[in-house]
Every structure is written in structure tokens, then in C-alpha cells.
């Protein structure tokens, strides 16, 4: 009798944790899993669930830790290894990622997880064609594996093939309508294609499924701003900032919106704060330069543009920034000619 109730309470905790993580209440799920005994917590299934929860909370370092413990506990388990490879992708751990992919493929070359890891590995090297082939193999092996469809979608987007990207995301959603990554992917495509109503709709679907993700909130805010609903956008971004203090994205987008609303002082205030958090982020200085330029403070603009250039921005941005500096240095009466 005692044994039965103990097993029931154990399964109760496991079930509750799994339920919460499916609802994307990841912090709550983590708290529930902590109630487990040491022995139960250190099983690979629990550890990979913990890793998944940290992954959803955008805490990739902790996720990496949990997943590597899970792998140590049972090296041949494939559960959650697709997510683990994505964690390593985000952390840009190319060596660890390629090792993981090799190991998984040699463990089971017929499992979709193995090929997802392999694809992530190629995607990190910016070889998107090969990555796509690997993800397509994962789809072939198990067409009910939603994440592989989504990853195909991401690769199509990287290759700027948006039509097929949309198809892949939609196949993912046919398998699992609660797979919010695909709703997000669709939102991103429509945002790029400037179909703003569509974009807002899809980000909102993602948001309804995972209402705690600050990243989704940020993009929903951006979509609202493009629809000229700046009030709503700013309050959504405010929510995003509160949801995850470590995420700099909503603050940056807030500054961008404030600049477009010509509220320069407040925008600069936000950017000053961001500068403290990420002192090596070129785009922060570039945006400050742009604001100072619009406020007719050329010295400060040049200073910030210069800082932005020192932090190795992309070639496109180097060209944009240098052109902006050139224009600043040209006297007003000549500006019309440029």
C-alpha cells in the first residue's frame, strides 16, 4: 500500500511537471521537478525536460548544463536531443554541436532527432543548403515530427525561399497546432514581406500558446508598430521587458519606435541603459548616432557612428553608417545634391 502511494505521488509530480512545461509555464515546471528526490531528478528523462524548460526560458547556459547531464545519465537516449542541438546552436558551440550530431547519427541514423542535430550543425556554419537536406531527411524518417518541419522552414527562410518556408511551417502546424515556433516563423515571413496584418495574427497565435516568451512579445510589438498601433506596441514591449529582464531586444525595439515617434530624449535614455547591458553591441551606437543626427547634433552623431563602426558591424551597415557620416560632414546647401 505504501509503495503504491509512493509511486503515485512520483508519477503525480512527473505528470504535473510535464503538463506545466507543455503549457509553457516553464518556471513553474522547473519548481515542480525540484520536488523530486535526488535520484529521480538525475534521470535522463527529467533532466532533458528540465533542459527543455530552460530552453523555453531562453536560458541556454542552464539548458546546456541540464542536457549534458542528461546525456551523461543515458548516452543513448534521443529524447530532447533535437532541442539540445538547438541550444548549442544558439550558444554557437560549433565543436560540441558537431560532436553531438556525430554521436547521435552513430547511435541511431533512423531517428529524426539525429538529423535535426546534423542540420543545426550545418546551419551554424551557414551552409543552409546542406542543413535543409538534413532536416528534410528528418522529415522523411518521421513526417509526424513537427520540429523537423519547422527547422526546414527556418532554412528556407535563410535561403530566402519564403514560399517553401511557409509550406514547411504549415506542415509543422498540421502535425501540431501548438508548435508555436512555426507560428512565429510565419509571423517573421509576413513581417519581412510587409504583410503586417498577417504578421500580427501569427505572432498573436504564438503569443497565445506561449504567453511568457519575451521574444514573441517583442515581435508582436514590432508588428503592431508597423500597423501604426504604436500605443499598443509600446505597452506590449513594456510587458516583454518585464517578462525577461535579460532580453535586450524589446528595449531596442522600444527605442526604435520612440525614435520614429520623434520622442528622441526617451529613446536615448533607453539606449543609454542598453549600452550598460551590452557595451559591445554596434547597433545600439548606430541607432544613437541616427538619433543625434535627427536632433541636429552632428558631433555627437559622428562620435556614436564611429563607436558603432569600431564594433564590426555587417558590411551593409558599414556602408550605411559611412554614408550617413559623409552626409553629416557635407554642408547643408550641398546636401540636396547627394
Amino acid at each position: 500500500m505504501l509503495g503504491t502511494s509512493e509511486i503515485l505521488s512520483l508519477l503525480g509530480i512527473l505528470g504535473e511537471g510535464y503538463r506545466l512545461s507543455c503549457l509553457y509555464r516553464c518556471q513553474d515546471a522547473l519548481d515542480v521537478f525540484l520536488k523530486l528526490s535526488h535520484k529521480q531528478y538525475n534521470t535522463s528523462w527529467v533532466l532533458s525536460q528540465v533542459g527543455k524548460s530552460y530552453f523555453e526560458l531562453v536560458d541556454y547556459l542552464e539548458a546546456d548544463r541540464a542536457f549534458s547531464l542528461a546525456r551523461r545519465a543515458s548516452p543513448y537516449s534521443l529524447e530532447g536531443m533535437d532541442i539540445y542541438s538547438t541550444v548549442l546552436y544558439h550558444l554557437k558551440e560549433d565543436m560540441k554541436l558537431s560532436y553531438l550530431a556525430q554521436e547521435l547519427v552513430s547511435t541511431d541514423r533512423l531517428a529524426p532527432q539525429s538529423w535535426c542535430a546534423m542540420g543545426n550543425c550545418f546551419s551554424l556554419q551557414k551552409d543552409h543548403e546542406t542543413a535543409l537536406k538534413n532536416f528534410q531527411r528528418a522529415v522523411q524518417l518521421n513526417s509526424r515530427f513537427a520540429y523537423a518541419h519547422t527547422l526546414c522552414g527556418h532554412e528556407y527562410v535563410s535561403l530566402e525561399d519564403f514560399e517553401n518556408g511557409i509550406k514547411s511551417y504549415q506542415s509543422a502546424l498540421r502535425v501540431d497546432a501548438r508548435h508555436y515556433n512555426s507560428w512565429y516563423g510565419l509571423g517573421m515571413i509576413y513581417l519581412r514581406q510587409e504583410k503586417f496584418e498577417f504578421s500580427e495574427h501569427h505572432f498573436r497565435m504564438a503569443f497565445q500558446i506561449n504567453p511568457r516568451s519575451s521574444v514573441i512579445m517583442s515581435y508582436l510589438g514590432t508588428a503592431l508598430h508597423t500597423l501604426q498601433r504604436s500605443e499598443e506596441a509600446l505597452s506590449m514591449l513594456e510587458k516583454a521587458i518585464l517578462a525577461d529582464k535579460k532580453n535586450p531586444l524589446p528595449m531596442y525595439q522600444k527605442a526604435n519606435i520612440l525614435m520614429n515617434l520623434e520622442d528622441f530624449d526617451e529613446a536615448l535614455e533607453v539606449l543609454e541603459e542598453l549600452k550598460e547591458y551590452a557595451p559591445r553591441e554596434s547597433s545600439v551606437y548606430a541607432l544613437m548616432g541616427r538619433i543625434y543626427k535627427r536632433r541636429n547634433m552632428p558631433e555627437k552623431a559622428v562620435f556614436h557612428y564611429g563607436l558603432a563602426l569600431d564594433l564590426k558591424p555587417s558590411a551593409t551597415d558599414v556602408a550605411t553608417i559611412k554614408a550617413a557620416i559623409e552626409k553629416l560632414l557635407v554642408p547643408d546647401e550641398l546636401q540636396d545634391y547627394l
Binding site: V58, Y60, T86, Y89, H90, L91, K92, K126, L151, H154, S158, E160, N181, Y184, M188, L191, R192, S213, S214, V215, I216, T222, T226, K246, N247, P248, L249, Y252, N256, Y277, A278, R280, E281, S282, S283, A286, L287, R290, A308, L311, K312, P313, S314, A315, T316, D317, V318, A319, T320, I321, K322, A323, I325, E326, Y337
Partner: protein, 192 residues
């Protein structure tokens, strides 16, 4: 832009060539989005040989110089780099000696942007399209024309084995004025 600039005036001389195709991470190949055509070709050595990723096949022109390769895009694109594969050891007098690259909206208003001279090259030859000034880093164009003005050893027809066209990768995040550079920003900026 109406004003004439000095671009295209200077000539670059290129010797050698690279055995491995190595291109900056910020760039991506864009040739597959374009319609490719050539001024003339020998049967079996047509335009498709330029794009088959096979260094053993080649396009061979069949007519009077200059020989053209036309690359037309459906929309205006930003381009930065052209890479061609030529092989003096195999092609000898068929190897291009002087190449000129023009850009424009269509055949009617092509304007020269770069002329390069090749000196017995074998391998991948990089031809940057950037001008001297910052705003000339990229060429914004609908069409690119690569013309072979002359060959080595006064050869008449020409061989080109591969052509790759590169432009900058677009910002992974739409509607953002600048690309993110630090890890703090990039890890948070996408969901995967």
C-alpha cells in the same frame, strides 16, 4: 545618379587564382535567382555549364568578340562580388585576358563598373564590385553583364568554367535598422 564618378576608370590586374572558393560569411550566392544568358555558345558547352558546380565543364563562346554573359534579376539586388573559375593550363588561348563588368536596369543602360586584366590565371578569381566610397560598397542593379573583351595569346573564343555572384545577406531580423553584433543580442533575437 546623374553625376559621373571615377568608378571603373582604374584597371586591376589579377594573377594566379585560388584553388578553394572562400567567401566572406556575410555574403551569399545569388545567381540562382537570376536568368542567365550568353552572347553565343558552342553546342554542348552552353550557359548551363557556367552554373553546374562542375569545374570540368565550361561555356565556350562561338562568335566575334566581345563575348557576353548576361545575368538578369527579377528585382533590384545588392551585389558585391563576382567570382569566376578560369584555367589557363587547360584552356590556354581560350582563357579570358580582359574582363569588363557592366551593370544597369537592362540592356539599354548598362554602365561599366569594373575592368580587370587576368594574367595566366588558374582557379577562382575574385572581382570585387565595390567602388572607393562607402556608398559604392554595393552595386544596386537589375542586371549584370560580364564581357570578355580579349583572351590570352590572341585567342578568339573563350572558356569560362564557373561564375558565382555574391551579395550581402539580408538582416535576419526584418524591420530592424541595423544588424545585431553581440551575443547578448543575437541569442535573444530569434526563436528556433
Amino acid at each position: 545618379m546623374a553625376t559621373e564618378t571615377s568608378e571603373g576608370e582604374e584597371e586591376v590586374k589579377i594573377t594566379g587564382g585560388n584553388q578553394v572558393l572562400l567567401v566572406d560569411d556575410d555574403l551569399r550566392e545569388m545567381g540562382k535567382e537570376a536568368a542567365w544568358s550568353v552572347s553565343s555558345c558552342k553546342t554542348g558547352n552552353g550557359v548551363s555549364s557556367l552554373r553546374d558546380d562542375n569545374l570540368d565543364t565550361y561555356w565556350q563562346s562561338d562568335g566575334a568578340q566581345p563575348h557576353f554573359v548576361n545575368i538578369q534579376f527579377q528585382k533590384k539586388v545588392k551585389l558585391q562580388l563576382v567570382v569566376i573559375y578560369v584555367d589557363f593550363k587547360l584552356d590556354e588561348s581560350y582563357t579570358p585576358g580582359k574582363i569588363c563588368i557592366r551593370a544597369g536596369d537592362g540592356f539599354h543602360n548598362l554602365k561599366e563598373i569594373k575592368t580587370v586584366e587576368l594574367d595566366k590565371p588558374t582557379g577562382w578569381v575574385y572581382i570585387s564590385l565595390s567602388g572607393n566610397e562607402a556608398r559604392e560598397t554595393f552595386v544596386n542593379t537589375f542586371m549584370l553583364q560580364i564581357s570578355v573583351l580579349s583572351n590570352h595569346l590572341n585567342g578568339r573564343d573563350t572558356h569560362l568554367r564557373q561564375i558565382k555572384i555574391y551579395g550581402p545577406r539580408p538582416n535576419p531580423i526584418p524591420h530592424q535598422p541595423f544588424q545585431f553584433t553581440s551575443r547578448e543580442f543575437t541569442t535573444y533575437s530569434i526563436i528556433r
